[in-house]
């Protein structure tokens, strides 16, 4: 086993497996995250959302998954850096004139930049919500039919999303995610060796429709929804 991992990690292809596995894991996480967050749209004073937040922060299974998730984000970032460094070294002197628009999509050529935007977003995002939830002093709330006192994440979210700059950052970042996944989702399958004349077009369509449009659009709709509510 040790040699297997060593053989994999020390090779360019192996590093790519880790990028792909972590990336695709993050993709599934995004789906779950997005579905949960839909509770924000429920007009119930935040009850559904806060209950969902409670569940997410207390269910042991979810907790484990969350840590795996963090680990994967770190892994993904670590390897994206390694990859970038290797690739810089592979062509130290660049061309005077590059005309790649005909041969590769814009997304595929800018994964690092897109990823970096996502990273900045993640930091801000984690600071406002995750950090507050864990370490900050949160307002609490109690709903009818539920005797627990819940941390009122809903109002924190509503508060954050009332600031224009914050909403703008969100929307821009969702574009970054859209483009990152437009290339990334199908690329992950290719990296794992899944390329089939019948199924690859389906994978590409899922990447495009679900990950590059629906998910980022819904994520972006949330802050916009609150911003508009607040107008």
């Amino acid at each position: 086993m040790a040699t297997v991992t060593a053989g994999i990690i020390q090779s360019s292809i192996g590093r790519k497996y880790l990028m792909a596995l972590s990336g695709l894991f993050l993709c599934t996480f995004l789906i779950v995250h997005m579905l949960g967050n839909l509770a924000l749209f429920k007009d119930d004073g935040g009850q559904a959302f806060n209950e969902y937040t409670y569940f997410m922060t207390h269910n042991p299974l979810i907790k484990i998954i969350a840590y795996v998730n963090y680990a994967f984000i770190l892994l993904h970032i670590f390897y994206s850096l390694t990859l970038t460094i290797y690739n810089r070294k592979a062509r130290p002197e660049s061309y005077a004139l590059v005309n790649q628009s005909k041969s590769a999509t814009w997304s595929s050529r800018n994964m690092g930049i897109l990823g970096s935007v996502i990273l900045i977003f993640l930091i801000v995002h984690m600071r406002t919500f995750w950090f507050e939830m864990k370490f900050g002093t949160m307002p609490t709330i109690q709903y009818d039919g539920n005797d627990m006192v819940l941390k009122d994440m809903y109002s924190v979210v509503a508060e954050a999303f009332s600031q224009v700059w914050y909403v703008a950052l969100y929307v821009v970042s969702m574009f970054a995610i859209a483009f990152h996944l437009y290339h990334g989702f199908q690329s992950g399958f290719q990296t794992l060796g899944i390329n089939h004349h019948k199924y690859t077009p389906i994978i590409k369509n899922i990447g495009m429709i679900l990950f590059a449009v629906i998910i980022p659009a819904l994520f972006a709709a949330m802050p916009l929804y609150f911003l508009i509510l607040n107008l």
Partner: protein
């Protein structure tokens, strides 16, 4: 046709290079891109200047020796076409054409537009073969091979080793080239005994030669003059994983 050529000139591997501009006043539409360089070189000799060095041999698009990065694309603008097969009718009168060598750490410049692609040979030497000594073969028809597999193997085998895939890749990755050979042999029954060893060794040398990591931009497939498919890269990724897991 009148054309302006901006050509990378570099005396040798150690020297720094620069662009030089040449005015071409009588370019015929029927000339190939290299024939235009012949004309330029003829002029340069007569003027007492050093000619532009470039690699070429067959001029039929099959030996893989020609290698010019033309207007930001390897082998120029025409799909499925090597530099030697590119004809001037695909350029516009009065156009400025920028010509550079392939650029990659693994392909050091020798002179002007000539680069050293021996890294490709070393990758093949690491495992791009079937170990069969002369005289040991069984009758050619004793192993039927489904036509579809044979055709796919042929498609992969039609790589000419030109290096355009590396040249165009923003990461200077050699995955298309390497996977073409890995795939060809992986698709044939004859290639099975060494399948796992082969992919491991070839990838190891590919990495050691200083090629970059593939990020699946797909530019290689688009620019490859022989239309080598990305499927080959996926197949190699798969084989590499299996090879590392099973032995």
């Amino acid at each position: 046709m009148k054309l302006t050529l901006k050509v990378w000139r570099q005396k040798n591997a150690e020297n720094k290079g620069e662009f030089k501009t040449y005015q071409m006043d009588h370019v015929s539409e029927d000339m190939s891109f290299l024939e235009m360089f012949d004309v330029l070189n003829d002029d340069l000799v007569r003027k007492g200047e050093d000619t532009v060095a470039f690699d070429h041999d067959c001029r039929e698009g099959i030996c893989g020796m020609c290698s010019m990065y033309i207007n930001g694309r390897p082998h120029g603008p025409l799909k499925g076409t090597t530099t030697c097969q590119l004809h001037m009718r695909h350029f516009k009168d009065g156009e400025t054409i920028t010509v550079e060598p392939w650029r990659a750490t693994a392909f050091p410049i020798i002179k002007d537009l000539m680069v050293d692609r021996s890294a490709f040979d070393r990758i093949i030497q690491a495992g791009g073969y079937i170990s069969i000594n002369t005289g040991n073969a069984v009758d050619a028809n004793s192993t039927p091979i489904p036509k579809l597999d044979a055709d796919k193997a042929f498609d992969a085998a039609s790589c000419i080793g030109c290096g355009a895939c590396v040249a165009t890749c923003k990461n200077a990755s050699a995955m298309l080239f390497v996977s073409a050979k890995v795939s060809q042999l992986a698709l044939l029954p004859q290639g099975q005994p060494e399948r796992h060893q082969r992919v491991k060794k070839m990838v190891e040398i590919m990495d050691a030669e200083g090629f970059g990591n593939c990020t699946n931009t797909g530019a290689c497939e688009v620019e490859c003059p022989k239309g080598i498919s990305l499927e080959n890269i996926a197949r190699m990724n798969r084989d590499f994983l299996v090879a590392n897991v099973v032995d």
